[in-house]
């Protein structure tokens, strides 16, 4: 059976890509950074929106996400994405659901995904988000 060389090149390239990504994992590249303190939170919020100055925030128990509010009443959710952080300012399209040990924040953007957080003051944030 003759196989088109272009298909062979494509399959070969696909294999090489998988091997390189696998090698990155095998070498232990990446990592799982956490947000630990005020400095980390301020840095992360400023990265999501330049100039966002958090006045209140709550870190999830493992430091992989944070909810932050500024004086203007805006609320930002930040999650760990790979070994970086990504976030969104919540809007009226956002929603929140309380769980036993925390809450699940839905930014309203399906591709951004829901952020599950373990928080001690979950109900405070639920109220804030529901008021948006």
């Amino acid at each position: 059976m003759d196989i088109d060389p272009q298909i062979l090149i494509f399959v070969g390239s696909l294999t090489a890509i998988a091997m390189l990504a696998g090698l990155a994992r095998w070498l232990g590249l990446g990592g799982k950074p956490t947000l630990k303190n005020e400095i980390d939170v301020r840095k992360a919020t400023d990265e999501v929106e330049s100039g966002f100055t958090p006045s209140h925030w709550s870190l999830s128990s493992k430091g992989e996400s944070v909810l932050a509010a500024d004086h203007a009443g805006r609320i930002m959710v930040i999650k760990r994405h790979g070994n970086q952080f990504a976030g969104r300012i919540l809007t009226s399209a956002s929603s929140v659901r309380e769980e036993v040990d925390g809450l699940i924040v839905d930014s309203g953007e399906s591709w951004f995904g829901k952020v599950r957080m373990t928080l001690t003051d979950a109900s405070v944030w639920t109220d804030r988000i529901n008021r948006l």
Binding site: I17, L23, L29, S50, H81, W111
Partner: protein
């Protein structure tokens, strides 16, 4: 006529270079790579070659047709005209500067080019993160003047290939600065890190391909600073490793905005800068930079005159 595609020959070098950088990263900067991000970037690279083969025909047709109307004729054996090669390379790089600048300042073009910037990492795999949808923009129009001048489309394809190969090695944090004379003339890892940064200071700067002189000439140059850590990616980071969403997210956003906008604003959502909105509710790179600059100025005033920052009644 030469039948030569330089990028094809460069692929093994690309793979080896990524491997070497990964090993460097393992010992010096493990966070420089992220396996899922690498997978997405490399899939972008492979997909872009497929997309180019499928949709690149229109650009080839346009160039070949335009060549029939050339102003100057280098002859039937144009490839032996030696001086035409460096001239074509230089002018193609100038063209690259402008098409790249348009790629950041016109949302329709940005919808395709954003793919190259959507990684939050900056490594050699990011260089291979190439668009799938370039054929659906009007970027090819920037190349037509060169064809009309008399440069054969194949010659432009070859010099464009070398241009792309040059740009591969500058996507790295492993190299700090090159010698001063080199930094003055050539695009370097340092200059291109600035280009991939989302720090307000660096937004929409350093569009160069090979020669940084274009940015210096046209007022878009910004020097990398040692006192400011660079953040990579896009203003609104994707927060997703979904390949198809990564490819098409800006197209989806642009077309949705266009659909929902009042008639008189529809075209603006295609042709104005990314982030522009008819009600001014969103941020553009310009508004972000202006806001950031105002904050920096306020901090400076507070630093120089502490009384001004006490908020106490006189």
């Amino acid at each position: 006529m030469p039948d030569f595609n330089p990028t094809q020959y460069a692929v093994p070098f690309f793979v080896i270079a990524v491997l070497v950088e990964m090993i460097w990263s393992r010992y010096r900067q493990p966070e420089a790579y992220e396996p899922m991000d690498t997978l997405v970037s490399l899939a972008f690279g492979l997909g872009s070659t497929v997309a180019g083969a499928l949709f690149g025909g229109a650009a080839v047709y346009a160039f070949v047709t335009a060549y029939e109307y050339r102003l100057f004729d280098l002859g039937t054996q144009w490839w032996v005209v030696w001086w035409a090669w460096p001239l074509a390379f230089l002018l193609d790089d100038l063209k690259y500067y402008w098409v790249h600048r348009a790629g950041h300042r016109i949302r329709w073009m940005w919808a395709a080019h954003v793919n190259h910037h959507s990684s939050q990492h900056y490594n050699l795999s990011t260089a291979l993160r190439q668009t799938w949808t370039g054929s659906f923009t009007f970027g090819l129009l920037f190349g037509i003047p060169l064809v009309l001048l008399g440069f054969h489309p194949v010659m432009l394809g070859i010099v464009g290939g070398f241009n792309l190969i040059y740009q591969f090695w500058i996507h790295t944090e492993a190299i700090d600065k090159m010698p001063r004379w080199f930094e003055a003339v050539m695009n370097t890892p340092s200059h291109h890190r600035v280009h991939h940064a989302t720090n307000p200071r660096y937004l929409d700067r350093n569009y160069a391909g090979v020669f940084i002189i274009w940015d210096r000439m046209f007022g878009t140059f910004e020097q990398e600073r040692d006192d400011e850590a660079i953040r990579y990616g896009i203003i609104k980071q994707l927060g997703s490793f979904n390949l198809l969403w990564s490819v098409f997210h800006e197209w989806a956003g642009m077309l949705t905005d266009c659909w929902r906008a009042p008639w008189k604003h529809k075209l603006s959502y295609l042709l104005r800068e990314p982030g522009w909105s008819h009600d001014g509710s969103r941020d553009t790179s310009t508004s972000i930079r202006v806001r950031w600059q105002a904050q920096q100025d306020a901090k400076q005033v507070a630093h120089q005159n502490p009384i001004a920052d006490t908020h106490e009644a006189a």
